[in-house]
Symmetry: C2
Subunit: 182 residues, 2 copies
Protein backbone atom coordinates (compact mmCIF):
# COMPACT_ATOMS: atom_id res chain seq x y z
CA UNK A 1 0.00 0.00 0.00
CA UNK A 2 2.95 2.31 0.59
CA UNK A 3 3.36 2.98 -3.13
CA UNK A 4 -0.22 3.97 -3.77
CA UNK A 5 -0.50 6.29 -0.77
CA UNK A 6 0.94 9.40 -2.37
CA UNK A 7 0.29 12.79 -0.75
CA UNK A 8 -2.20 13.37 -3.56
CA UNK A 9 -4.21 10.24 -2.74
CA UNK A 10 -4.06 11.06 0.96
CA UNK A 11 -5.55 14.48 0.13
CA UNK A 12 -8.31 12.79 -1.91
CA UNK A 13 -9.13 10.53 1.07
CA UNK A 14 -9.26 13.44 3.48
CA UNK A 15 -11.55 15.42 1.16
CA UNK A 16 -13.82 12.41 0.55
CA UNK A 17 -14.07 11.69 4.28
CA UNK A 18 -16.29 14.77 4.48
CA UNK A 19 -18.97 13.13 2.35
CA UNK A 20 -22.07 12.23 4.33
CA UNK A 21 -23.43 8.68 4.42
CA UNK A 22 -25.81 6.58 6.46
CA UNK A 23 -25.45 3.05 7.83
CA UNK A 24 -27.46 0.39 6.04
CA UNK A 25 -27.90 -3.36 5.89
CA UNK A 26 -28.18 -4.42 2.24
CA UNK A 27 -29.82 -7.84 1.97
CA UNK A 28 -30.79 -10.19 -0.78
CA UNK A 29 -32.30 -13.59 -1.45
CA UNK A 30 -31.49 -16.30 -4.00
CA UNK A 31 -32.84 -19.83 -4.18
CA UNK A 32 -34.28 -19.59 -0.70
CA UNK A 33 -30.97 -18.50 0.85
CA UNK A 34 -30.67 -15.05 2.40
CA UNK A 35 -27.73 -12.81 3.25
CA UNK A 36 -27.08 -9.25 4.35
CA UNK A 37 -24.10 -6.92 4.61
CA UNK A 38 -23.21 -3.55 6.04
CA UNK A 39 -23.11 -0.66 3.55
CA UNK A 40 -22.84 3.11 3.61
CA UNK A 41 -23.11 3.98 -0.08
CA UNK A 42 -26.83 3.94 -0.74
CA UNK A 43 -28.68 6.82 -2.39
CA UNK A 44 -31.76 7.79 -4.32
CA UNK A 45 -31.10 8.56 -8.00
CA UNK A 46 -34.51 9.50 -9.42
CA UNK A 47 -37.77 10.70 -7.89
CA UNK A 48 -40.13 9.43 -10.60
CA UNK A 49 -40.00 6.49 -10.78
CA UNK A 50 -38.46 6.10 -7.34
CA UNK A 51 -35.06 4.49 -7.90
CA UNK A 52 -32.05 4.03 -5.68
CA UNK A 53 -28.43 3.02 -6.32
CA UNK A 54 -26.05 0.91 -4.25
CA UNK A 55 -22.40 0.05 -4.83
CA UNK A 56 -21.62 -3.55 -3.86
CA UNK A 57 -18.26 -5.33 -3.96
CA UNK A 58 -18.19 -8.12 -6.53
CA UNK A 59 -16.55 -10.52 -4.05
CA UNK A 60 -19.42 -10.27 -1.53
CA UNK A 61 -22.05 -13.00 -1.19
CA UNK A 62 -24.81 -10.38 -1.25
CA UNK A 63 -23.52 -9.32 -4.69
CA UNK A 64 -23.92 -12.90 -5.92
CA UNK A 65 -27.47 -13.11 -4.57
CA UNK A 66 -28.50 -9.77 -6.11
CA UNK A 67 -27.07 -10.88 -9.46
CA UNK A 68 -29.11 -14.10 -9.22
CA UNK A 69 -32.46 -12.76 -8.05
CA UNK A 70 -32.39 -9.13 -9.21
CA UNK A 71 -33.75 -8.19 -5.80
CA UNK A 72 -32.34 -6.38 -2.77
CA UNK A 73 -33.54 -4.65 0.36
CA UNK A 74 -32.13 -1.80 2.42
CA UNK A 75 -32.65 -1.67 6.19
CA UNK A 76 -31.79 1.80 7.56
CA UNK A 77 -29.85 1.32 10.81
CA UNK A 78 -30.96 3.36 13.85
CA UNK A 79 -28.64 5.41 16.07
CA UNK A 80 -29.45 3.01 18.93
CA UNK A 81 -27.64 0.13 17.22
CA UNK A 82 -24.65 -1.30 19.09
CA UNK A 83 -21.41 -2.57 17.58
CA UNK A 84 -22.50 -6.10 18.54
CA UNK A 85 -25.62 -5.65 16.41
CA UNK A 86 -23.70 -4.08 13.53
CA UNK A 87 -21.11 -6.85 13.82
CA UNK A 88 -23.81 -9.39 12.93
CA UNK A 89 -23.74 -8.04 9.36
CA UNK A 90 -20.27 -6.60 8.89
CA UNK A 91 -16.73 -7.88 8.73
CA UNK A 92 -17.59 -11.54 8.12
CA UNK A 93 -18.85 -13.35 5.03
CA UNK A 94 -22.23 -15.01 4.77
CA UNK A 95 -20.30 -17.88 3.16
CA UNK A 96 -18.92 -18.72 6.64
CA UNK A 97 -21.84 -17.92 8.91
CA UNK A 98 -25.61 -17.52 8.82
CA UNK A 99 -25.78 -13.77 9.40
CA UNK A 100 -29.50 -13.85 10.21
CA UNK A 101 -29.22 -16.61 12.82
CA UNK A 102 -29.07 -14.06 15.64
CA UNK A 103 -31.00 -11.19 14.09
CA UNK A 104 -34.68 -10.31 14.27
CA UNK A 105 -36.04 -10.00 10.73
CA UNK A 106 -38.99 -10.61 8.48
CA UNK A 107 -39.25 -11.04 4.74
CA UNK A 108 -40.49 -8.55 2.18
CA UNK A 109 -43.26 -9.76 -0.18
CA UNK A 110 -40.50 -10.72 -2.65
CA UNK A 111 -38.47 -12.64 -0.06
CA UNK A 112 -35.71 -10.16 0.86
CA UNK A 113 -34.87 -9.97 4.56
CA UNK A 114 -35.89 -6.80 6.41
CA UNK A 115 -34.14 -6.38 9.74
CA UNK A 116 -36.67 -5.44 12.43
CA UNK A 117 -34.50 -4.35 15.37
CA UNK A 118 -32.33 -1.20 15.50
CA UNK A 119 -33.78 -0.22 12.13
CA UNK A 120 -35.91 2.85 11.35
CA UNK A 121 -37.20 1.98 7.89
CA UNK A 122 -36.64 -0.41 5.02
CA UNK A 123 -37.20 -0.57 1.29
CA UNK A 124 -37.05 -3.44 -1.18
CA UNK A 125 -36.07 -2.90 -4.80
CA UNK A 126 -35.99 -4.72 -8.11
CA UNK A 127 -32.80 -4.21 -10.14
CA UNK A 128 -33.43 -2.26 -13.35
CA UNK A 129 -29.79 -1.61 -14.27
CA UNK A 130 -26.37 -3.01 -13.40
CA UNK A 131 -23.27 -0.91 -14.02
CA UNK A 132 -19.88 -2.63 -13.91
CA UNK A 133 -17.52 -0.19 -12.20
CA UNK A 134 -14.48 -2.42 -11.68
CA UNK A 135 -14.23 -3.81 -8.15
CA UNK A 136 -17.92 -3.06 -7.53
CA UNK A 137 -21.25 -3.23 -9.32
CA UNK A 138 -23.60 -0.28 -9.12
CA UNK A 139 -27.09 -1.72 -8.84
CA UNK A 140 -29.94 0.63 -9.70
CA UNK A 141 -33.22 -0.58 -8.29
CA UNK A 142 -36.84 0.50 -8.44
CA UNK A 143 -38.63 0.55 -5.09
CA UNK A 144 -41.28 -2.20 -4.86
CA UNK A 145 -41.89 -2.28 -1.11
CA UNK A 146 -41.28 -0.14 1.98
CA UNK A 147 -41.80 -0.23 5.72
CA UNK A 148 -41.46 2.18 8.63
CA UNK A 149 -40.14 0.33 11.67
CA UNK A 150 -39.50 2.95 14.33
CA UNK A 151 -39.42 6.66 15.06
CA UNK A 152 -35.74 6.52 16.06
CA UNK A 153 -33.04 8.65 14.51
CA UNK A 154 -31.17 7.00 11.60
CA UNK A 155 -27.45 6.49 12.25
CA UNK A 156 -25.07 8.61 10.20
CA UNK A 157 -21.77 7.14 9.08
CA UNK A 158 -20.00 9.95 10.96
CA UNK A 159 -21.81 8.82 14.15
CA UNK A 160 -20.76 5.22 13.47
CA UNK A 161 -17.13 6.30 13.11
CA UNK A 162 -17.06 8.83 15.98
CA UNK A 163 -19.25 7.23 18.66
CA UNK A 164 -18.97 3.52 17.92
CA UNK A 165 -15.39 3.73 16.62
CA UNK A 166 -16.69 1.73 13.69
CA UNK A 167 -14.26 0.72 10.98
CA UNK A 168 -14.82 0.58 7.23
CA UNK A 169 -14.66 -2.98 5.82
CA UNK A 170 -12.01 -3.60 3.16
CA UNK A 171 -14.66 -4.40 0.54
CA UNK A 172 -16.37 -1.02 1.04
CA UNK A 173 -16.31 1.61 -1.72
CA UNK A 174 -14.99 4.06 0.89
CA UNK A 175 -12.23 1.83 2.34
CA UNK A 176 -8.92 3.57 3.04
CA UNK A 177 -5.93 1.43 4.02
CA UNK A 178 -4.15 2.47 7.23
CA UNK A 179 -1.44 5.03 6.58
CA UNK A 180 1.80 4.49 8.49
CA UNK A 181 3.55 7.80 7.89
CA UNK A 182 1.22 10.53 6.88
CA UNK B 1 -49.95 14.76 -8.30
CA UNK B 2 -53.00 13.45 -6.42
CA UNK B 3 -53.16 10.32 -8.57
CA UNK B 4 -49.54 9.30 -8.08
CA UNK B 5 -49.50 9.87 -4.33
CA UNK B 6 -50.93 6.51 -3.32
CA UNK B 7 -50.49 5.32 0.28
CA UNK B 8 -47.81 2.98 -1.10
CA UNK B 9 -45.78 5.81 -2.62
CA UNK B 10 -46.22 7.87 0.53
CA UNK B 11 -44.77 4.95 2.51
CA UNK B 12 -41.82 4.76 0.07
CA UNK B 13 -41.15 8.48 0.59
CA UNK B 14 -41.28 8.18 4.35
CA UNK B 15 -38.89 5.22 4.32
CA UNK B 16 -36.48 6.95 1.91
CA UNK B 17 -36.49 10.14 4.01
CA UNK B 18 -34.38 8.17 6.51
CA UNK B 19 -31.49 7.87 4.04
CA UNK B 20 -28.52 10.02 4.99
CA UNK B 21 -27.08 12.61 2.61
CA UNK B 22 -24.78 15.60 2.69
CA UNK B 23 -25.13 19.03 1.10
CA UNK B 24 -22.91 19.68 -1.91
CA UNK B 25 -22.34 22.19 -4.67
CA UNK B 26 -21.78 20.33 -7.94
CA UNK B 27 -20.02 22.58 -10.45
CA UNK B 28 -18.77 22.28 -14.00
CA UNK B 29 -17.12 24.22 -16.78
CA UNK B 30 -17.66 24.27 -20.55
CA UNK B 31 -16.21 26.64 -23.11
CA UNK B 32 -15.00 29.01 -20.40
CA UNK B 33 -18.46 29.25 -18.80
CA UNK B 34 -18.97 27.94 -15.27
CA UNK B 35 -22.03 26.91 -13.28
CA UNK B 36 -22.87 25.19 -10.01
CA UNK B 37 -25.93 23.66 -8.39
CA UNK B 38 -27.01 22.29 -5.05
CA UNK B 39 -27.04 18.49 -4.72
CA UNK B 40 -27.43 15.90 -2.00
CA UNK B 41 -26.94 12.66 -3.94
CA UNK B 42 -23.17 12.34 -4.14
CA UNK B 43 -21.29 9.18 -3.09
CA UNK B 44 -18.12 7.22 -3.51
CA UNK B 45 -18.53 4.03 -5.56
CA UNK B 46 -15.06 2.46 -5.63
CA UNK B 47 -11.95 2.82 -3.49
CA UNK B 48 -9.37 1.85 -6.09
CA UNK B 49 -9.40 3.77 -8.34
CA UNK B 50 -11.17 6.45 -6.34
CA UNK B 51 -14.46 7.05 -8.12
CA UNK B 52 -17.61 8.91 -7.13
CA UNK B 53 -21.14 9.03 -8.55
CA UNK B 54 -23.60 11.92 -8.81
CA UNK B 55 -27.19 11.99 -10.08
CA UNK B 56 -27.91 15.18 -12.04
CA UNK B 57 -31.20 16.24 -13.63
CA UNK B 58 -31.00 16.35 -17.42
CA UNK B 59 -32.74 19.75 -17.53
CA UNK B 60 -30.07 21.46 -15.39
CA UNK B 61 -27.38 23.69 -16.92
CA UNK B 62 -24.70 21.91 -14.89
CA UNK B 63 -25.78 18.66 -16.61
CA UNK B 64 -25.18 20.29 -19.99
CA UNK B 65 -21.72 21.51 -18.97
CA UNK B 66 -20.69 18.10 -17.55
CA UNK B 67 -21.85 16.43 -20.80
CA UNK B 68 -19.74 18.93 -22.78
CA UNK B 69 -16.51 18.92 -20.77
CA UNK B 70 -16.63 15.55 -18.96
CA UNK B 71 -15.52 17.38 -15.82
CA UNK B 72 -17.20 18.23 -12.54
CA UNK B 73 -16.28 19.31 -9.03
CA UNK B 74 -17.92 18.75 -5.66
CA UNK B 75 -17.69 21.37 -2.90
CA UNK B 76 -18.74 19.91 0.46
CA UNK B 77 -20.91 22.51 2.24
CA UNK B 78 -20.07 23.29 5.90
CA UNK B 79 -22.61 23.38 8.73
CA UNK B 80 -21.91 27.14 9.06
CA UNK B 81 -23.53 27.86 5.68
CA UNK B 82 -26.60 30.10 5.74
CA UNK B 83 -29.69 29.82 3.55
CA UNK B 84 -28.55 33.00 1.79
CA UNK B 85 -25.30 31.26 0.85
CA UNK B 86 -27.07 28.04 -0.18
CA UNK B 87 -29.59 30.10 -2.14
CA UNK B 88 -26.74 31.32 -4.38
CA UNK B 89 -26.60 27.83 -5.90
CA UNK B 90 -30.07 26.37 -5.44
CA UNK B 91 -33.57 27.06 -6.73
CA UNK B 92 -32.54 29.20 -9.71
CA UNK B 93 -31.00 28.29 -13.07
CA UNK B 94 -27.56 29.36 -14.20
CA UNK B 95 -29.29 30.16 -17.51
CA UNK B 96 -30.88 33.19 -15.80
CA UNK B 97 -28.15 34.35 -13.42
CA UNK B 98 -24.39 34.11 -12.93
CA UNK B 99 -24.38 31.92 -9.83
CA UNK B 100 -20.74 32.66 -9.06
CA UNK B 101 -21.11 36.46 -9.24
CA UNK B 102 -21.55 36.69 -5.45
CA UNK B 103 -19.60 33.62 -4.34
CA UNK B 104 -15.97 33.25 -3.31
CA UNK B 105 -14.37 30.54 -5.46
CA UNK B 106 -11.26 29.43 -7.25
CA UNK B 107 -10.70 27.07 -10.14
CA UNK B 108 -9.37 23.54 -10.06
CA UNK B 109 -6.40 22.77 -12.36
CA UNK B 110 -8.95 21.61 -14.96
CA UNK B 111 -11.10 24.74 -14.67
CA UNK B 112 -13.97 23.58 -12.46
CA UNK B 113 -15.10 26.07 -9.82
CA UNK B 114 -14.31 25.22 -6.21
CA UNK B 115 -16.31 27.24 -3.70
CA UNK B 116 -14.01 28.59 -0.97
CA UNK B 117 -16.42 29.86 1.69
CA UNK B 118 -18.68 27.70 3.88
CA UNK B 119 -17.02 24.65 2.34
CA UNK B 120 -14.94 22.00 4.16
CA UNK B 121 -13.38 20.17 1.21
CA UNK B 122 -13.67 19.77 -2.53
CA UNK B 123 -12.83 17.23 -5.21
CA UNK B 124 -12.72 17.46 -8.98
CA UNK B 125 -13.45 14.47 -11.19
CA UNK B 126 -13.24 13.36 -14.79
CA UNK B 127 -16.29 11.46 -16.06
CA UNK B 128 -15.49 7.81 -16.86
CA UNK B 129 -19.06 6.59 -17.29
CA UNK B 130 -22.50 8.11 -17.93
CA UNK B 131 -25.61 6.10 -17.09
CA UNK B 132 -28.95 7.28 -18.49
CA UNK B 133 -31.50 6.72 -15.72
CA UNK B 134 -34.51 8.56 -17.16
CA UNK B 135 -34.97 12.05 -15.73
CA UNK B 136 -31.35 12.09 -14.50
CA UNK B 137 -27.89 11.02 -15.63
CA UNK B 138 -25.66 9.18 -13.22
CA UNK B 139 -22.16 10.49 -13.80
CA UNK B 140 -19.32 8.32 -12.51
CA UNK B 141 -16.11 10.26 -12.16
CA UNK B 142 -12.52 9.52 -11.23
CA UNK B 143 -10.98 11.94 -8.74
CA UNK B 144 -8.28 14.09 -10.34
CA UNK B 145 -7.92 16.86 -7.74
CA UNK B 146 -8.82 17.54 -4.12
CA UNK B 147 -8.58 20.32 -1.54
CA UNK B 148 -9.19 20.69 2.17
CA UNK B 149 -10.68 24.11 2.88
CA UNK B 150 -11.59 24.16 6.56
CA UNK B 151 -11.84 22.09 9.72
CA UNK B 152 -15.57 22.80 10.04
CA UNK B 153 -18.23 20.11 10.27
CA UNK B 154 -19.82 19.14 6.96
CA UNK B 155 -23.56 19.84 6.77
CA UNK B 156 -25.85 16.83 6.68
CA UNK B 157 -29.02 16.96 4.61
CA UNK B 158 -31.00 16.29 7.80
CA UNK B 159 -29.38 19.42 9.34
CA UNK B 160 -30.27 21.43 6.21
CA UNK B 161 -33.90 20.31 6.48
CA UNK B 162 -34.25 20.59 10.28
CA UNK B 163 -32.21 23.68 11.15
CA UNK B 164 -32.32 25.75 7.97
CA UNK B 165 -35.80 24.56 6.96
CA UNK B 166 -34.23 23.88 3.58
CA UNK B 167 -36.42 22.58 0.81
CA UNK B 168 -35.61 20.01 -1.85
CA UNK B 169 -35.57 21.48 -5.39
CA UNK B 170 -38.00 19.95 -7.88
CA UNK B 171 -35.14 18.69 -10.09
CA UNK B 172 -33.58 16.75 -7.20
CA UNK B 173 -33.51 12.93 -7.24
CA UNK B 174 -35.10 13.06 -3.76
CA UNK B 175 -37.88 15.57 -4.55
CA UNK B 176 -41.29 14.75 -3.06
CA UNK B 177 -44.28 16.86 -4.12
CA UNK B 178 -46.32 18.35 -1.25
CA UNK B 179 -49.06 16.03 -0.06
CA UNK B 180 -52.40 17.67 0.66
CA UNK B 181 -54.27 14.88 2.38
CA UNK B 182 -51.98 12.29 3.80
Amino acid sequence: MADSTTPEIYSHWTALNKFNYGVYIVSSVAGGRINGQLANTVFQVTAEPIRIAISINKSNLTHQYIMESGLFSISVVAESATMIFIGLFGFRSGRDIDKFANAAYKKSPHGCPIVTEHVVSAVAARVVEKVDIGTHTLFIGEIIHSEILSEERPMSYAYYQEHLRGKTPKASPTFQPPVENK
